[in-house]
Amino acid sequence: MKPKIGRALVVGGGISGIRAALDLAETGYPVTLVDRAPHLGGVLSQLDNQFPTNHCGMCRMLPLVDRDAGAQYCLRKGLFHENIDIRTSTQVVGIEGEAGNFTVRLKRQPGFVDPVACIGCGRCADACSVSVADDFNAGLSMRKAIYLPVPHMLPNTYVIDPAACTRCGECINVCPTGAIRLYREGRQDFSVLVVDDEYTVRDSIKEWLEEEGFSVETVGSGEEALDLIKQQSFRMMLLDIKMPGIDGVEVLKKAKDLFPDMTVVMMTAYATVETAVEAMKTGAMDYLMKPFDPEDLAGKVIGVYEAEEAARAEEIEAGAVVFCGGSEGYDPSTGKNTFGYKVFSDVVTGLEFERLISGTGPGGGGALLRPSNGEPVKKIAWIQCVGSRDLQTDSDYCSGVCCMYAIKEAMLAKEHGPEDLESTIFYMDMRTVGKAFQRFRDAAETDQGVRFVRGRVHTVYQDTHTGKLVVSYPGEKSRRIEEDYDMVVLSTGQKPSSGTDKLAEAAGIELNPWGFVRGEPFLPAKTSREGIFCGGSFSGPKDIAESVISACSASLLASATMHSAGKGIAVAGDDTPEYIDVSHQAPKVRVILCECGGSLPEGIDLRRLAAGLEADPFVESVSFVSRICTEEGWESLAEKVKTKGYNRLLVGACTPYAYTRRIRELGGEVMLDPSLMDVCDIRSPEFAYGEETGGDAIEKAMRRSLSTGISRLRSVDPLPKQTVPVTRSALVVGGGIAGMTAALAIAEHGYDVHLVEASEHPGGNLGWLHSTVEGNDTAILLEDTTQRIEKHPLVHVHTNTTVVSAFGEVGNFFTTIETADSGPQTIQHGVVLIATGGREAETRSYGYGTSDAIVTQKELEEKVAAKAIDYSAIESVCMIQCVDSREEPRNYCSRVCCPSTLKHILQMKQQNPDISVYILYRDMMSPGFAESWYTEARKAGAVFIPYTTYAKPVVSQGEEGGSKVVISTREPLLDADVQIHADLLVLATGIVPNLPEELAGAFGAECDEDGFFREAESKWRPVDSLKEGVFGCGIALGPGSIEGSVATAGAAAQRALRILSKNAISPAAVTARVRHSLCVTCERCIAVCPYGARSIDPDTNRVLVNAVMCQGCGNCASECPNSASVLDGFFDGRMLDMIDMVME
């Protein structure tokens, strides 16, 4: 695909960054993806299991259209896409320019191992004598100073931990490719001044640093220090804060005035930590807390040294920037740590728990054992809200993810622990706010026997006699109960990623009060700086689905920015190269082998190997290249393929997946279809030599691999693929805020959009909503959006219109719509977005309808707007949450009701502070920053009383003739009955969807059991349907806020633009087809196709395959008994042949 003009920069390579990069790349933009870590994947590289399936599933984010642009490879192992340029160990240090024309300065962290030269053989790690805690396993296992940051990453190259490395040089000696280089030589020139009034301190620091090779001077006072730096130049100063005479802070100020480039690190005791933090504002780089150990200190100095040595800022041009910097897990040892984290080894964080049971974890086996003594865990507890909803840890917000991950982990514990494992979750509110979350929780409780206890645990200590952890919590009548556990998991919350503040400063974007990036009202993906966007938890705690949605929505905004700057218009035309037709030629395979710079193990004779291969009648020739992984090596290879005489190319090298993109490019140069070219692994550590060792065995394995590759290539049948033309317009069904937002986004990229709205005006629920709990005005949003819709020439609004029928597939749908006055009309479109929204549920519960004093939330909102309710005349209000919700049959949380309740409380209390407000709730759902409004509502004096589905509140009429209603409920803390005499009873009835099953079905999508749009995958593909080209957004997808609807609308539009940005979609090389002469139409292939790519043509009675929708999974081929269904490139004959070769 021809790249468009604009380049997008995505910062952060976690799940959101990968999603944003893939989105933009799939839409056709070249993308630079940077991550400061030496690998991609973020925290998810450490998490094996995701709820609700308790598997991974990240691969579901791989491109589904134009699959061949990326390698179909496990995304947790690596990301390979031809439009994505990945730079790890790289940070953004500055952004200049404006939207559409940014110049971004990137700084690469020093790399001691050349990733191109490293072949991942691991000899360096074997030679390394340093052993330190492994971050990948959350410190639960050990690793060397030279190590693989993520053991399963591909390509997997070693990196050096500069803080742990002793520079002994052993690794350099054993590295077969000379990939390692250290900077020790230059250290003598790096002079450090140590200033401390205590002799013992400065002397030992001098000793430690000189051991590391630095030159060190020491002085005992600030005065001396200031004198000395004027005479002698220092690169770094270690400065004590508390000194007689001129103190450290003064010295810092003066030194920085004189030598602004000098790095200063403060040294402090507990009492002066605050001073040290202040000092950092004055220019100190960091501070060290006394007493410190030599390794910390040396590590810090080495870090500074190496950063200075190796950091080279580089400038790149970018049209738009998407920040996906993620968040960090709260570290419970930093706070008051009443849970004994890092004190008792059986107290772990959620992340550590996941590492413990991971197959790649410290135990390796995945069994759930106590870290303290290796015995099986029989009783385990989760403690929620650690570092969340806690003002003491500066987190007046809910991290939003911990409830669900705790439930998931409790279920995983059952899998990894003994049958009779007892697990308990201690919580304040179980925030099961997502679509299927409540049922997941219920299943955990009823099917898996997970015990849920409402109460905040404050202390965990160890019984010194039994070694058990004792958890104490308030039980009945708030009495303290103490229980023994084998393991305690702290459900740690999300904190802003470290360095967020620095990055924000470098990028010129603002942060919110909680230290996350501040999003615009109603558009959280938009930062305060034009052209810079934000995806994932960088702007606040998010789960995977929310991260994916926000990343999609951020990439949409980035695309729009580049488009409007004139950098997105280049249209991807039919730019597939005209490959030479080789279908009538006998196969001739040219084999080129990498000699790996002569570093192959002894006993391997490449010439002998080549001679053996050349005996094969299908092999044209075998030749050699010294090192393909180097630029020269690749050029030499490119040279070798220029001469004619072959029609298949096989390269024998290491890490084949890394060459996907280059092979495609090479194919374009020599006009050979890339499917006729292959790279065969003969070298990677993953490459299986078999059980024997030694040169012979390896050579045999290499021959086996190459023979297999030859027979694979030999039988490739390069049939030309049919492309599917795309009708480059969209249909959006539903004209609420989601539908309008999506329609505008697509139209602003230059494509026609038909917006179908059943009612008289677009607007949906914004028609009656007036403000949000944050105080944002919805009327302005509505007016602004409708005006833009009306004005946009490419948006065709059809009001009073419904969809009558539809058929078709991605690229080409034909939909008949009917407008009340003007009759039916058929529209052709390439994609469809379903945004039919939802409405407030009706109820007959809690006496609704028996009294004027009982209203729903919507009625309250309307009455307040119409000034039909005067709060000043009201004494008492009661609100009941979760009316008919979160229990069967409507067993889901509607998300919006709790924030609405908080909004209403604050409105009432503002107008009449004396009003008594009672909220009867099950779990207050105020995830994320909404938590702060919950705090406000409590501060305003509202009384929150929990109830359960077993003992619901009872509503009765008050006194004869009175207007009050009486609500009786149980106050569980007092364990007493309560009667509330209310002037107003507000029922939070929740949301029901407006999506008729037939409408979804007409486009090939489905509804879930609650009638919402069924997404392809709740986490990884949250706005797609399983059928390509059909997307859902807004409340049609599931209950959500306005911000949520706008985000899903953006995400859905972005997903649609991947398709609309192409004239035609070409299917991937590997797709399935049907050999009709063999087919008996048993239709089993249709039943097993997970992508709905197969159908039966009733006219011809033949099975049809939509090649674009087909993902080449091969289910059909393996289901078909006589291979009437086949996967291109995987014919039985070829497979048998290859198996035969492997068995040789």
Partner: protein
């Protein structure tokens, strides 16, 4: 270095040895302590229960007295309860001007005025942050090697004002214990409440807390503390706690200056171990055996 010294009522009575050893210690270190003129009670925990205003005014009177002596000075307080009460005023008037006004109205009755210029410093704070460890080390003449000492901080020097140590997991005493040659007894109860204030009003509850601490310190040669209430509480109720728990607790509760004094080779008159209620013979024996010149 000079500090205004506020001993507080306990140090005149039940905790006299604390005052004696403190003064001896500072003399050894060459730091001058000047006793606050005409100091009065800080109000302890009782004032709060009787009058909110008096609970501020009583400590404020002492601060005002100190200001009268020297406007900008540090007032050294060994008693944690006094320290907290004085600190509370110091912090409270920082941004509550109406409080300051009210306090001064009361102080007027005693011809005093509070400005808020003196700083309240706990004895431990001063020892850890003002006195160089090197200086203390240089005075150590007898290593307490072989002694395992449990540092006990109590509540009020740590909470609610976290001035010089971590209020949940305090560690400031550790360097002082090690500099004396002893080892730090590993426990996590240094910041737990000892229940002193319950002893007169709800003794059973108080004894439980004492017992928990004594149980936790089984294995330590001594508990060292910086609060007269804690000290008295922990040593005076050992028998009762033993009875309540059917066991035998016997552990000396030393004041930090007493411990340092032992290592610095101060005289019996300067340390006054004889005033402690519980110094078991075994402890004395160990002292005699291990107190070798460093």
């Amino acid at each position: 270095m000079t500090y205004i010294y506020y001993p507080g009522c306990s140090l005149e009575g039940t905790a006299a040895e604390y005052s004696i050893s403190t003064m001896a210690l500072f003399e050894t270190l060459g730091i001058e302590l000047i006793e606050l003129d005409d100091w009065t009670c800080c109000g302890a925990t009782a004032a709060e229960g009787v009058s909110h205003l008096l609970s501020f005014a009583l400590p404020a009177r002492n601060l005002a007295m100190a200001e009268k002596m020297k406007a900008k000075s540090d007032i050294l307080v060994p008693c944690s309860a006094c320290y907290l009460n004085l600190k509370r005023v110091e912090q409270g008037i920082k941004d509550d001007h109406s409080l300051l006004r009210k306090i001064n109205q009361v102080l007027e009755a005693d011809d005093l005025v509070l400005k808020g210029t003196v700083r309240t410093r706990h004895l431990l704070d001063v020892l850890v942050n003002d006195v160089a460890l090197d200086d203390i080390a240089s005075k150590i003449v007898r290593s307490l090697e072989g002694f395992s000492i449990a540092p006990y901080y109590g509540c009020q020097c740590l909470r609610p004002y976290a001035v010089f140590d971590d209020p949940e997991a305090p560690r400031s005493m550790e360097s002082l214990i090690t500099v004396a040659g002893a080892s730090v007894y590993p426990w996590d109860m240094g910041g737990r409440c000892c229940g002193a204030s319950l002893m007169s009003t709800a003794p059973e509850a108080g004894i439980e807390l004492v017992a928990a601490l004594l149980e936790g310190a089984q294995g330590a040669d001594a508990i060292v503390t910086v609060c007269p209430m804690c000290q008295m509480n922990l040593e005076a109720y050992q028998k009762k706690a033993s009875k309540q728990h059917h066991t035998h607790y016997e552990v000396p509760i030393l004041y930090l200056p007493q411990l340092l004094g032992l290592a610095m080779g101060l005289t019996d008159d300067q340390i006054r171990l004889d005033m402690n209620l519980c110094v078991p013979g075994s402890f004395r024996e160990k002292l005699a055996n291990t107190l070798q010149p460093a």
